[in-house]
């Protein structure tokens, strides 16, 4: 937790088992693919994260090998989970820490966070410091629910009420910092069956979007109302790609507890084929680059005043700008070190730091795929 004050923070909002770990795993994997050969690595920054991601990968591999698997949705658990990643150019103190918090939606109601107030406060601060909210959306729940009795359960299973509340608080905080970028990305997951651009036969993406708009209208409106400048993206993600929904059933236990079970089969050659994760990474990179540019603007006379304000703001601000400021300072420090030492090692370090900058610029410059739309 030593990087609390310097990590790039991303909030994850969604119910348990919606696929947040799979999304983080996919992001890590996709980042590694995108950074391959750049000299910059995306790594799990702590052991806990490494363990969780490894476990997720192993489970996924198992599912793929079995040819079919069940994926259930349950009512949310209330344990916060932190994922720590890092963009590491291989230069000490030059890496960018990225921290993601799986926000326990169950804590939104005061009565449900009795006894965990300290953790709640920590979560609240984390969300306030986040410039990005990722909202995984269970596409199968949206698409496979047809009975009215079950449709009424969707807000409960998708935790849209809690998501809306946290997103609203986050948006209010973002609105207080107009210079800072803000991004909410709604990421339908488990939606491989509804697209035909990644091995599927039928394209039901329009219907998926319609259902998302219906169910998440409140969340989108809350963000738009509280943070008008925030970027809101609809970015469906295939975290696996080579799976297809077989059937889905709403079930009710003998104790009256509802559950939603989806059965998937592995299609084709069981090769993971992620889709849309690169769009998500592009959006994140754009956030980083935007901040970096803002922080570096002090070199321009015209932007000096703004840079000064940004610097001052960074001194008293948590989160994003502090992180970016540190990153910029490290880059400068590397340049100065390289200039002063003129040695090979220093130049190499400078090269790596600049490579991180370049690769992020490159990723940020990518155009969003056709699945992505701005809301």
């Amino acid at each position: 937790m030593t990087t609390d004050q310097v990590a790039f923070k991303i909030g994850l909002l969604g119910p348990s088992r919606v696929g947040k770990t799979s999304l983080v795993t996919a992001m890590l994997s996709e980042a590694q693919r995108m950074l391959a050969g750049s000299g910059v690595a995306m790594v799990a920054a702590d052991t806990a994260t490494e363990v969780v991601i490894d476990g997720n990968r192993e489970a996924l591999q198992g599912d793929l090998l079995s040819g079919e698997f069940l994926h259930g949705s349950l009512l949310g658990t209330v344990e916060p989970t932190y994922f720590k990643l890092a963009l590491d150019p291989g230069v000490p103190d030059a890496r960018i820490d990225i921290e993601l918090l799986d926000f326990p939606g169950g804590w939104i109601k005061p009565k449900d966070r009795v006894g965990v107030e300290d953790q709640w406060e920590k979560c609240r601060k984390f969300i306030a410091a986040s410039t990005i909210l990722l909202v995984p959306v269970d596409a199968s729940l949206l698409m496979e629910t047809t009975e009215k009795e079950h449709l009424r359960l969707l807000p409960q299973f998708l935790t849209t009420v809690q998501v809306e509340q946290v997103a609203r608080d986050w948006a209010i905080e973002r609105n207080r910092r107009p210079e800072e970028p803000a991004l909410v990305a709604f990421c339908p997951v488990k939606g491989e069956a509804y697209f035909n651009d990644n091995g599927g036969i039928k394209n039901r993406s329009v219907l998926l979007r319609q259902r998302f708009d219906t169910v998440y209208a409140g969340v989108v409106q809350a963000v738009r109302a509280e943070a008008p400048k925030a970027t809101i993206l609809y970015a469906p993600v295939d975290t696996i790609g080579c799976v297809e929904l077989v059937r889905a059933d709403w079930t009710k236990s003998s104790t009256g507890i509802w559950g939603f079970d989806a059965k998937y089969r592995v299609r084709g050659k069981a090769e993971i084929s992620r889709m849309g994760v690169d769009d998500l990474m592009t959006a994140i990179a754009q956030q980083l680059i935007y901040g970096k540019r803002l922080a570096g603007a002090q070199e321009s006379d015209d932007l000096r005043a703004l840079a000064n304000r940004a610097a001052e703001y960074a001194e008293r601000s948590e989160g994003f700008f502090r992180d970016i400021w540190l990153w910029v300072n490290r880059e400068r420090q590397a340049r100065r070190t390289a200039a002063a030492q003129h040695d090979r090692e220093a130049r190499e370090a400078l090269h790596r730091v600049l490579a991180l900058d370049a690769v992020l610029e490159k990723i940020a410059a990518q155009r969003f795929g056709p699945r992505v739309s701005r809301l």
């Binding site: 040819g67 079919e68 496979e144 047809t146 009975e147 009215k148 009795e149 035909n196 651009d197 599927g200 036969i201 039928k202 394209n203 297809e244 929904l245 077989v246 059937r247 889905a248 059965k263 089969r265």
Partner: protein
């Protein structure tokens, strides 16, 4: 003068006939109104006006008119000028009659003491005849008019109704309450009873008239003499069998030709209740009345009884204006009583003529016992006066009758006008059959619209409900469960058997053919199994038809009670609506449309759901490359067979899942289908407009046709009652019109 009278007789008789008709028609009208008023179709408010107000009084007025015209008729139909001779007992009436007629005591008995005239006679001048015609009682009329009157007067509860009963009747010797008048009555009754033997044969004659020679007349018109009454022999009383007597004889005075004299009872001698009847009789029988007052020691002044007698005679005058035209006073002055005559005349002048001789009444003087005196003092001046006044009196009588008739007719016509108004309100309230059918048809349509709209609203509420139709969800789940069970059970043959068969097939044909056959089989089987929903769909539609049918039956009286329910009922209704005489094409089409409603999985839903089975195929086109891609290419091994089986179960499960999902999310749910169908049915059945294509005048008119065609089944008994009510109504209206006509006819005739 008499001929002129007779010439006018037909018109008077015509008027009388009309007024008698009026009376009968009033009775008929009253009865008809009673019937109409009591008919169920007549509402209480309207019934109140269906009566002849003061019916009894109105009939009395009509009777009065008839009586007046009858009096005129009697007057105009006389062959003689009739002079009534009236006066108290012992005034010389019979003596006067003898003097005028030339008859003697044998025919017109006189006596010094007791009253001797038992039967009043009408005596007519007849040069060629000399006889008496007696009109006799029958036993019944005798017992009813004579004996019963005595019994009632004496306070007896019972009276004899046959002569045998009368003969054996046991009369008391004396009364418990011996008032003098009653004692006298009882004595007379006992005399009558005792003398039955003498007149019984006359009562029992076959002929009701008996002609008697004038020489033997006395026993039939006079009371027994004092001597015979007190002899020991039984006293005969044949006069008791006689109602009245007509005597024809030649009057001694040749100048008097067509003259009759009527012996009137002594006024004041008859019971009070009989006086009005007597007066009516006077009016019918006489043209003029002589009221005799005898100048004698006991009656030389005008008494109160005389005044009462004059008053009664004045009543008989009727419409004759001048009292003196109808009544003449005769002062009978026997020889030796001349000195009494002057005071009597003076008293009469004072009491009757207001002190001026002849002011109101003419006073004639005569000695009744002297025919010449009678001729000169009575007949000559009387007949002279009558020659001038009788035509005037005739006109006055006729005018009086006309006046009474006009007043009564006006009253009746006013009543008829009120009644006509009341009848209009009855018609407005109940209407005739045609109007009522139209009203009933309209109401039927409205009532059906209300209930059918409620059914539509109920179905719409189910369509719009927050909950899915639970029956439909259950039906889909059941069928889906069956399909999944079939899949999980190895496509009906078991997983191992299926895989073994697949492996065997691989050996001969490779994997492709078997896989193709199986995938097709699976697709067909899934479709077939979902078609089991047809049972549910048809049940839903039949239930809808039953709901509609029950509403129709509830409002269609007995028309559809014999039919079954649902389809059977609607089929029968469709047949009824296809009536050549009263075709209802729009209604028929609406019903047959509902009967034709189908919802079948194969024909209606499968085409829509077919894309959900697209996954059940062995290869598909890759959307990214456009190239065909095999779903699976299994190894030709047991593992390959197992892989194929797993793959097919996944595809089949997904297809079943997609079909189920599409059914649940589909627009075409049974309740939507039935809602749309019933809504369309109601629109067509209740609200369709005129259509040339169908040859329909529109729903509203077709309901009228339907109502006309089946009115007795739709509203059992109602139209039978309406027809009956209309007959009663028409009867009243006819009688009103007839009465108007009869009154007009009477007016014209008068």
């Amino acid at each position: 003068m008499l001929d002129r009278r007779r010439a006018r007789l037909p018109e008077v008789q015509a008027v009388i006939t009309n007024w008698r008709n009026v009376d009968q028609q009033l009775i008929s009208l009253s009865s008809a109104l009673d019937l109409l008023r009591n008919h169920p179709s007549v509402l209480p408010d309207a019934a109140a006006g269906l009566a002849i107000p003061q019916f009894t009084e109105m009939r009395a007025q009509v009777a009065q008119v008839i009586e007046q015209y009858t009096a005129v008729e009697a007057r105009f139909s006389r062959d003689t000028v009739n002079i009534g001779v009236s006066g108290s007992a012992r005034m010389g009436k019979s003596t006067l009659l003898q003097s005028i007629s030339g008859l003697g005591d044998e025919q017109i008995p006189t006596g010094r003491d007791l009253p001797v005239t038992a039967i009043r006679s009408r005596i007519y001048n007849s040069p060629d005849l000399r006889r008496a015609v007696l009109r006799l009682h029958s036993p019944e009329s005798f017992l009813d008019e004579v004996i019963k009157a005595y019994h009632l007067e004496l306070g007896f509860d019972q009276w004899p109704t046959t002569l045998d009963e009368f003969r054996t009747w046991n009369y008391p010797a004396e009364l418990s309450d011996p008032k003098p008048d009653k004692v006298s009555l009882l004595a007379r009754l006992r005399d009558i009873h005792a003398a039955l033997w003498s007149y019984e044969q006359d009562l029992c004659r076959a002929e009701r008239e008996m002609v008697v020679g004038l020489d033997h007349l006395r026993q039939f018109v006079a009371y027994p003499t004092h001597e015979s009454q007190h002899s020991t022999d039984p006293v005969p009383r044949r006069y008791l069998a006689v109602r009245d007597a007509r005597i024809d004889c030649a009057f001694p005075h040749a100048e008097v030709d067509r003259l009759g004299i009527i012996d009137l009872p002594g006024l004041g001698e008859i019971a009070a209740g009989a006086e009005s009847h007597h007066v009516t009789g006077l009016r019918h029988e006489v043209d003029v009345v002589l009221l005799i007052k005898k100048a004698s020691e006991t009656s030389a002044f005008w008494t109160a009884a005389d005044a009462q007698a004059l008053k009664l005679l004045d009543l008989a005058r009727g419409s004759i204006r001048n009292r003196g035209d109808f009544v003449y006073l005769v002062v009978n002055t026997p020889k030796g009583a001349e000195s009494l005559a002057d005071p009597l005349r003076a008293h009469i002048t004072h009491q009757v003529n207001d002190g001026q001789p002849g002011k109101y009444f003419t006073v004639l003087d005569t000695d009744a016992a002297e025919p010449e005196s009678v001729r000169g003092g009575v007949l000559s001046p009387l007949l002279t006066a009558l020659a001038a006044r009788l035509p005037v009196m005739d006109e006055e009588c006729l005018a009086g009758a006309r006046e009474a008739a006009a007043g009564t007719a006006a009253g009746i016509e006013l009543m008829l006008a009120d009644l006509t108004t009341a009848m209009r309100s009855v018609r407005a309230a109940s209407g005739d059959v045609t109007e009522t059918i139209a009203d009933q048809a309209r109401k039927l349509r409205e009532d059906l619209a209300i209930e059918l709209n409620a059914l539509v609203a109920e179905l719409r509420a189910r369509v719009m409900a927050d909950e899915d139709d639970p029956e439909y969800v259950s039906a889909i789940k059941a069928v889906y469960g069956d399909v999944v069970a079939w899949i999980e059970g190895g496509f009906g043959i078991g997983a191992e058997t299926w895989q073994a068969a697949a492996f065997r097939a691989f050996g001969t044909d490779g994997s492709g053919r078997y896989a193709d056959e199986q995938i097709n089989r699976i697709r067909v089987e899934i479709g077939n199994r979902f078609a089991a929903l047809d049972t549910f769909y048809s049940g839903q539609i039949e239930r809808t038809r039953r709901d509609v049918g029950l509403i129709l039956r509830r409002h269609c009286g007995d028309l559809l009670t014999g039919a079954g329910e649902g389809t059977a009922l609607l089929t029968e209704l469709a047949d009824l609506l296809d009536n050549p005489r009263n075709p209802c094409p729009a209604l028929h089409q609406a019903v047959t449309g509902l009967l034709a409603l189908r919802m079948e999985y194969r024909s209606h839903l499968h085409p829509l759901l077919r894309p959900q089975l697209d996954g059940l195929r062995m290869q598909y086109e890759d959307p990214r490359t456009g190239r065909p891609v095999a779903v699976i290419v299994p190894e030709l091994t047991e593992k390959g067979a197992r892989d194929l089986y797993v793959n097919f179960t996944h595809l089949a499960e997904n297809a079943a899942h997609e079909v189920r999902k599409a059914l649940m999310a589909g627009e075409m749910t049974p309740v939507m289908v039935t809602y749309a169908a019933v809504e369309h049915f109601v629109d067509a059945f209740i609200r369709s407009g005129a259509s040339n294509e169908l040859g329909s005048p529109g729903s509203e008119r077709e309901f009228e046709r339907f109502a006309r065609a089946y009115r007795d089944e739709l509203w059992p008994g109602a139209y039978q009652g309406i027809a009956e009510g209309n007959v009663r109504y028409d009867r009243v209206m006819t009688l009103i019109d007839t009465l108007y006509g009869t009154l007009a006819e009477a007016r014209r005739a008068a």
